[in-house]
């Protein structure tokens, strides 16, 4: 049932209080089997827990602390606010630009997302399938594809603006940035809102109808208010993502720059660590504030769906009978999905076209060139992604278990720290790692470890959430039975928890893999120039204007991620068939 998830925590603590289960020791029962194996097991149990908590502190908290310390440092061991004063006086315009773009992007993106979510939730059949497929593709797309398509379609020599309409204009400005950001944040928010819509109580909708509410009234009085917290979350997430997005302004901002794009330039161009640390604090503080607000809002959203007893496959609401609002929702959604089709059509095509004096013809030359020059990069990307997926999934499962089911001292603190990277701007997470790990005893800069760790901890919040959700489905009685029959904590973990997390393993793996392949955020700053990854090459290619190669890399990434995910589903599906549990 729905309530189980909410009560697990209380019940776990209650159980520990009632039965006096010592929470950090093994499942040894008094006077029985005090063997060395069990003691070793309980030691191992403690060791795992300490390892998890230590890693979270080292790879999340410490880098953040490093940014703060560096921004306050005067280079000689003392503390000063000089860097802040400098940023405030010199980059006030960038700060203002960031807020301006952030607010407008968040608003536009949320309008699109809300409309698209309601539209998809009320569809069924092939329309729904097609829309979901498009969303899936956007979720596994590398960043910058929107900007890439934007330049190709509407740029100075754009297919639509120049070749079709014959106009020549300058697309590199702040409106382009806002437009692109809103478009590229839509899929994630839409999926979030679809999730909330699928938890709506069918009873409420039926009751409203039963009491005389027409579809427009149901939408206004029931559906939208219940989506309320989700819509706020969408605004918040988009705002923070816009603040921390440096790629879009760098690529299509032209002379327009935000604080994030300025950090990128300071870091890549001048390696000015003090100044970029101070600038990063201007991103970090709102991000952390947004993070706590986000947690509060998600709890409220859960509360609104708490009492809902009935679930549904489809939102029973006729948009065409919803009046102007319904028509608006359908129109905005259709517009959005058409733009997506155009965008991906453009990306997939552009890699195979060559232009000679304005005449396009089909070519495989780019493809061959990419394969000859960058095969190693592609392979490296896949290997890194696989490592992060496996290690990250295991980490997330263990972490979720200790957080959900055991009374770890300081639980809420560690939970909060591990979730923090969800909102951390890529520039912060990147520069934090540079500062934290570029001297002995932890000199990791330039190695693969720093890139892998960065990916793993950036993705930990979502991965943990997937596992926690799955864990709440495992009855506590199972765990108790294992203990009752003489198994220790470790046996519980091995025989009960991990096997029941198998479905979560797949979602977690797939999420980790696609994120590792497609996230640019922090790793742009961490990568060793000799060991590039595909997203890095993509950014390079877009930045230098090599659009055909960029399109090809983007297409290849999308195809690889889809293929690996398909394979993962196939394997677990086959495995599940053989071993129906």
């Amino acid at each position: 049932m729905n309530n189980r998830g909410h009560n697990t925590q209380e019940r776990a603590s209650l159980r520990d209080a009632l039965f006096g289960v010592p929470h950090l020791s093994g499942g040894r029962r008094p006077g029985e089997r005090k063997g060395g194996a069990l003691t070793a097991g309980s030691l191992l149990d403690k060791a795992i827990l300490l390892l998890l908590l230590g890693a979270v502190c080292l790879f999340v908290l410490w880098p953040m602390a490093c940014i703060l310390l560096r921004s306050l440092g005067d280079g000689e061991g003392g503390f000063t606010l000089a860097a802040y004063a400098q940023v405030w006086s010199r980059y006030r315009e960038n700060l203002w630009n960031s807020v301006f773009v952030g607010v407008l992007s968040a608003l536009a993106c949320t309008v699109f997302s809300t409309a698209a979510a309601i539209f998809i939730a009320t569809r069924r059949g092939w329309v729904k399938m097609a829309c979901m497929a498009l969303l899936l593709i956007t979720m596994v797309s590398p960043p910058f594809v929107s900007s890439l398509a934007y330049i190709q379609l509407y740029g100075r020599r754009g297919w639509i603006t120049y070749r079709l309409l014959g106009i020549s204009w300058d697309p590199y400005n702040c409106w382009g940035v806002i437009w692109m950001q809103s478009i590229s944040f839509v899929p994630l928010n839409t999926l979030l809102l679809i999730g909330i819509l699928s938890k709506l109580d069918t009873g409420s909708l039926q009751a409203a109808r039963d009491l005389g509410a027409r579809p427009a009234a149901i939408l206004r009085d029931v559906v939208l208010p219940l989506m309320g917290p989700g819509i706020l979350v969408s605004l918040l997430l988009s705002f923070v993502r816009s603040l921390s997005d440096y790629g879009t302004p760098v690529i299509i901002g032209g002379r327009f720059s935000t604080i994030a794009s300025e950090i990128y330039l300071q870091l890549v161009g001048y390696s000015d660590l003090e100044k970029s640390s101070a600038m990063n604090m201007f991103l970090l503080l709102p991000a952390i504030a947004a993070f706590f607000l986000y947690r509060y809002l998600m709890r409220r959203s859960d509360k609104l769906s708490e009492g809902s007893r009935s679930r549904q496959g489809r939102l029973e609401l006729s948009l065409s009978r919803c009046g102007p609002v319904g028509i608006g929702i359908a129109a905005v959604s259709i517009l959005f999905f058409l733009m997506m089709v155009l965008q991906y059509g453009c990306i997939f095509l552009a890699g195979f076209l060559k232009s000679t004096k304005g005449v396009y013809s089909f070519t495989l030359r780019n493809w061959e060139e990419l394969w000859r020059l960058d095969a190693a990069t592609m392979v490296r990307s896949v290997v890194y992604a696989l490592i992060v997926s496996l290690a990250g999934t295991l980490f997330a499962m263990l972490f979720a278990y200790y957080m959900e089911r055991r009374r770890v001292p300081g639980r809420s603190f560690f939970d909060c720290v591990a979730t923090l990277p969800y909102m951390l701007p890529g520039t912060c997470f990147g520069i934090g790692y540079i500062l934290a790990f570029n001297h002995e005893p932890l000199k990791l800069t330039g190695t693969a470890v720093i890139v892998l760790a960065n990916m793993l901890f950036k993705q930990l919040p979502t991965a943990t959430k997937i596992c926690s959700a799955s864990l709440t489905q495992v009855p506590l009685a199972l765990e108790r039975s294992a203990r009752d029959l003489g198994g220790g904590q470790l046996a519980v973990l091995r025989d009960v928890i991990l096997p029941s997390l198998r479905p979560a393993f797949l979602s977690c793996f797939v999420y980790n893999f696609s994120s590792s392949m497609t996230t640019a955020g922090a790793i742009i700053f961490l990568i060793n120039p000799g060991k590039k990854l595909a997203v890095f090459k993509l950014f390079d290619a877009v930045y230098t204007g090599d659009y055909a190669v960029a399109s090809l890399i983007a297409s290849v990434i999308i195809v690889i991620v889809l293929a690996v995910e398909g394979l993962a589903y196939l394997i677990t599906w086959k495995g599940g068939e053989r071993n129906v549990s």
């Binding site: 109580d201 009873g203 409420s204 009751a207 039963d210 009491l211 708490e306 009935s310």
Partner: protein, 261 residues
């Protein structure tokens, strides 16, 4: 008759769920549809409420054919099994929601809402949110919300199934007296024999989409139409007293068996 169902038929794919159902009910009476799960009773209720369209047949309320009218325009309201209360509204806002569509002024609606809350004994909870009140109280809010729009017919879909046994008995009595007081025509669906026998003015026993017997409870009690009906009602364990009270008899041999086991 006030409510007339004639030759209702509904099937989902190959499976016929309701087969040629015909019932009629005078105004102000309470009809109980009793049957085990999957007998088609909820489907029947959904057809009366307008949430399912019958394959064939007719539904008449107060002489008006409502078969093709969508739920929002039917003079019929439903108390759902899961209540379907709006979690983002207060108790009072929930109760007066339906009045919005009757063009009633806000102040008037509020007054009426408070009156109905008083009627179900929740006057003190007007400002509370749904998750702040108990299951029994939620049940009453759902009832008040359905009755306030003064429907011609009120449907109840196993409304007490989420309550504990003691509360269920109490709610039964409250519902019965409320229904008498308002003279409301009601259709009540349940799988609880005792509940049906106590509440109903008329009782329909359904099995596999058909009505096996339709009559006053006392009449069914004295003349069950078939051994199945007698067995289903558990008549050998019930005793109807002269004063109208119904007793459930726990048989001696059952007890002995229980002790032996």
């Amino acid at each position: 008759m006030y409510l007339e169902l004639s030759h209702l038929k509904k099937s989902f794919g190959e499976k016929t769920v309701v087969e040629d159902l015909t019932l009629s009910l005078p105004q102000g009476e309470l009809l109980c549809i009793l049957g085990s799960s999957g007998c088609g009773k909820t489907t029947t209720l959904n057809m009366i409420g307008g949430f399912l369209a019958p394959d064939s047949g007719q539904i008449l309320v107060d002489g008006e054919d409502i078969t093709a009218i969508p739920p929002e325009r039917r003079p019929v309201t439903t108390v759902f099994q899961s209540y379907g209360l709006f979690p983002h509204m207060t108790v009072l806002q929930n109760v007066v929601y339906g009045l919005k569509f009757q063009r009633i002024r806000r102040a008037e609606a509020r007054e009426k809402g408070l009156r109905y809350l008083e009627m179900v004994g929740l006057a003190d909870y007007a400002g509370a949110y749904i998750h702040e009140i108990s299951g029994g109280q939620q049940q009453r809010v759902a009832l008040a919300r359905a009755l306030i729009v003064e429907p011609k017919l009120c449907l109840l879909d196993e409304p007490f199934s989420n309550l504990d046994a003691a509360l269920r008995v109490k709610m039964r009595q409250e519902l019965k007296s409320l229904q008498r007081e308002l003279g409301m025509t009601m259709v009540f669906v349940t799988h609880d024999q005792e509940e049906a026998l106590i509440l109903a003015d008329r009782m329909a026993i359904m099995e596999q989409g058909r009505v096996l017997q339709y009559d006053a409870p006392l009449h069914i009690y004295h003349n069950p139409v078939s051994p199945f009906v007698a067995d289903f009602l558990g008549l050998k364990d019930l005793e109807w007293r002269q004063d109208g009270a119904l007793l459930k008899i726990i048989r001696r041999d059952d007890k002995e068996e229980h002790h032996a086991g």
